[in-house]
Amino acid sequence: MPIEWKDYPGDGSYDELITPGGNARAAARGAVRYIGSLSDEDLRERRDAAELAMQVMGITFTVYSEGEEGGIDRTWPFDIIPRILSAHEWRRIEAGLQQRVQALNMFIADIYGEKKIVRDHVFPREVLAKSVNHRSQCEGIRPPLDIWAHICGSDLVRDKDGTLYVLEDNLRVPSGVSYMLENRLVMKRVFPELFENYSILPVDGYPTRLFDMLASLSPRPADYPTVVVLTPGIYNSAYFEHSYLAQQMGVELVAGSDLVVLDDDCVYLRTVGGLERVDVIYRRIDDLYLDPEAFLPESVIGVRGLMRAWRKGNVAIANAPGAGVADDKVVYAFVPAMIRYYLDDDPILPNVPTYLCMYKPQLEYVLDHLDELVVKPANESGGYGMLVGPSASKKERQKFAELIRKDPRNYVAQPTLSLSTAPTLCDGRVEPRHLDLRPFILSGETSHVTRGGLTRVALKKGSLVVNSSQGGGSKDTWIVETGDK
């Protein structure tokens, strides 16, 4: 039976495709009409086709489970109804992200350099002192182009009133871009007719852009540079992506043991023909495991001496070690101030209002309003160690109040956002499910934002958790030219 959009059970959140009155939003009109005209069986067939395509293409992520050797590869749940944004809105988002990442890069360079922002009292010294992602080993280093965060994945969420907020910036080893690319391929197989009548901005130039950006960092610009992707190994949950990107860029995928730093402080690749010099490393290993000589001595996945080589400028590393200093929920609260300070500009994209418990008045406010707020530890990711006030028990809130009082610097609080929804195929019915959006921003000589990004969707009814490890799936994201300016 064709879908009756008038009966689409909106839950009060902003829906990306359907207005509260049951009409399609402008950019989504064609897709909504078309999908709405399909029978249940049609929809099911397309969903099965998408699932099969995913399996055949080997689009997987690794899940750890007890009793299994290592981990197992799973295909990632994919929903065939796309998330659609107008190109008009997207241009503003694109500009906002570029502005934001530019300021973040200037901030990181400043923090490891002169620290003007601290001297000028725009950024408090004590936040820096307690930052777990600040690497003293990076003090005084100036990477090529003064860029530290070459690849950034920023998470965007939309609240009830339609405002799009930046929720966080992932500056360490952001992942998900391979799924963005593969989702588009799957959609083209499943809904070729929609692509004929729509002008959807393409996403497939990403690997080339990534390679060009990485190559531009090479310390030996005269030669054709040797670029490698450095992975922690097959048991990493993002191994598929590491292997995928290396393949798409046509570069080697390497583990720490494939690399060696010699006395000349250059990095070499072990090949059957002997050692070969490496110019650029796209690393997908966390700072602390990167080099046992500079960081955790027990790391077995890193490369001894890598920091030495980097400091000397003999190799470029993306993202630069230490870039994570700006990937911290306390530092996040200062991004709007950074934009004003470094760029003398107003932020185009707003932050979610954030209360810093390190400041007494804000701490008091947070403790008084725990039942309305989401409280997050500064340096956890993946939704760990959080308190969602409205759904927490009184006991949990009390426990959290104690934790916050003990270590106020480590906590921030934000109002509970409702996260927008989009129609999603669930058990043969189309229902709203909550989602977010992670575009990727490349920064080199020029900067580039992916056309859209990875839309992650919480497949469980009412859930706000979009993580793949916790029942999340993904959708293709369309940026559509509509003709309005």
């Binding site: 097959i234 583990a255 494939d258 060696v260 072990r270 090949t271 059957v272 002997g274 050692l275």
Partner: protein, 322 residues
């Protein structure tokens, strides 16, 4: 450019696939041989453990070499890293990390085989299901070899697969010669004379060489001829001469091959110069021992030259080899 770690992984992948196939084949042949021998002949399963080079390991865990003990040990036993399921698991791990390089359909076949072997283990242990079970493992390993040969560029990476396969084959052939030929029966007495031929036939069968031997060498099976065939024949792909020749061809195209070619040359000379009649009457064991020693040296030289170009770090995944 070929990474040392990738070269090592595909080399081991090929060795493990070959090992699984060879192990399946010798069990199958032994199983048939036992059916042919008179019932009261004490000719047990221990020889199989010896051929696969696992005697000590076996006796650490088992008192007696009963049929069931030996079969379980050779097909699926965590105490034996060379058992069929362990070999397939190791091959799979090595291929898993080189999926971008080796044809996708080879990965799918190996993945399938690995799961099927594990899930149907009981068939392999039972007398009734054994033939079909082992046959299928052998067929799938051949299918894999075919997919690799037929759908992968014959580039440097493929050369390492080819070297792995042929190093393992040469190893198996020398082992079979050693155990089978030097100790054909517990003691050759009058009563068992008629069965000597059967045993030589099983030597050939263990290496899938019976048919080709008959076609190219002799209709009658004679020990000396069989031995000569397995060492010297130039056209059968499991003879020591042939396997070493394959390794040589691969090595010739690789950089920095001098040291490895020197060791290889020593092995080839040993095989070429051996007097089969002489060693058959005396000294087969010491000849095979020497040959195996050179074989091990060759493997070590490949490892040192190509897999660890700088130091002793092991990038590849491997179990303790026999």
């Amino acid at each position: 450019m070929l990474l040392s770690s990738v070269a090592e992984r595909v080399y081991w992948m090929a060795r493990y696939i070959e090992r699984a196939e060879n192990t399946a084949r010798i069990i199958l042949v032994h199983h048939n041989l036992l059916l042919d021998l008179p019932r009261h002949v004490e000719f047990g399963w221990e020889a199989l453990v010896t051929i696969t080079g696992n005697r000590e390991r076996f006796h650490e865990h088992h008192e007696e070499a009963t049929e069931r003990n030996v079969l379980r040990f050779l097909i699926a036993d965590h105490n034996n890293p060379n058992c069929i399921t362990c070999s397939l698991a190791m091959a799979r791990e090595n291929l898993r990390t080189t999926r971008a390089i080796v044809p996708r359909s080879a990965w799918e076949t190996l993945n399938d085989l690995h799961a099927w072997t594990r899930d149907n283990l009981n068939n392999g242990l039972s007398r009734r299901g054994r033939f079909a079970y082992l046959r299928r493992i052998i067929d799938y390993c051949q299918l894999l070899a075919g997919k690799l040969s037929g759908t992968m560029s014959h580039d440097q990476t493929y050369d390492f697969i080819r070297m792995g396969r042929n190093m393992e084959r040469a190893d198996m052939t020398t082992r079979v010669i050693e155990v089978r030929a030097s100790n054909l029966l517990p003691s050759i007495n009058e009563e068992l004379k008629p069965f000597v031929d059967i045993q030589w036939k099983s030597v050939l069968d263990s290496l899938a060489g019976y048919q080709m031997y008959r076609r190219h060498v002799h209709v009658r099976i004679r020990g000396r001829e069989v031995l000569r065939f397995l060492l010297h024949d130039e056209r059968f792909p499991r003879t020591v001469h042939y396997c070493l020749g394959e390794v040589e061809q691969c090595l010739r195209g690789l950089p920095g091959n001098e040291a490895a070619l020197r060791v290889l040359g020593r092995a080839q000379r040993m095989v070429r110069e051996v007097d089969v009649t002489e060693i058959l009457s005396d000294g087969l064991n010491s000849f095979v021992d020497d040959l195996q020693q050179v074989h091990t040296q060759l493997h070590e030289q490949l490892t040192a030259t190509y897999f660890q170009p700088l130091d002793g770090q092991h990038p590849g995944l491997q179990a303790v080899s026999a």
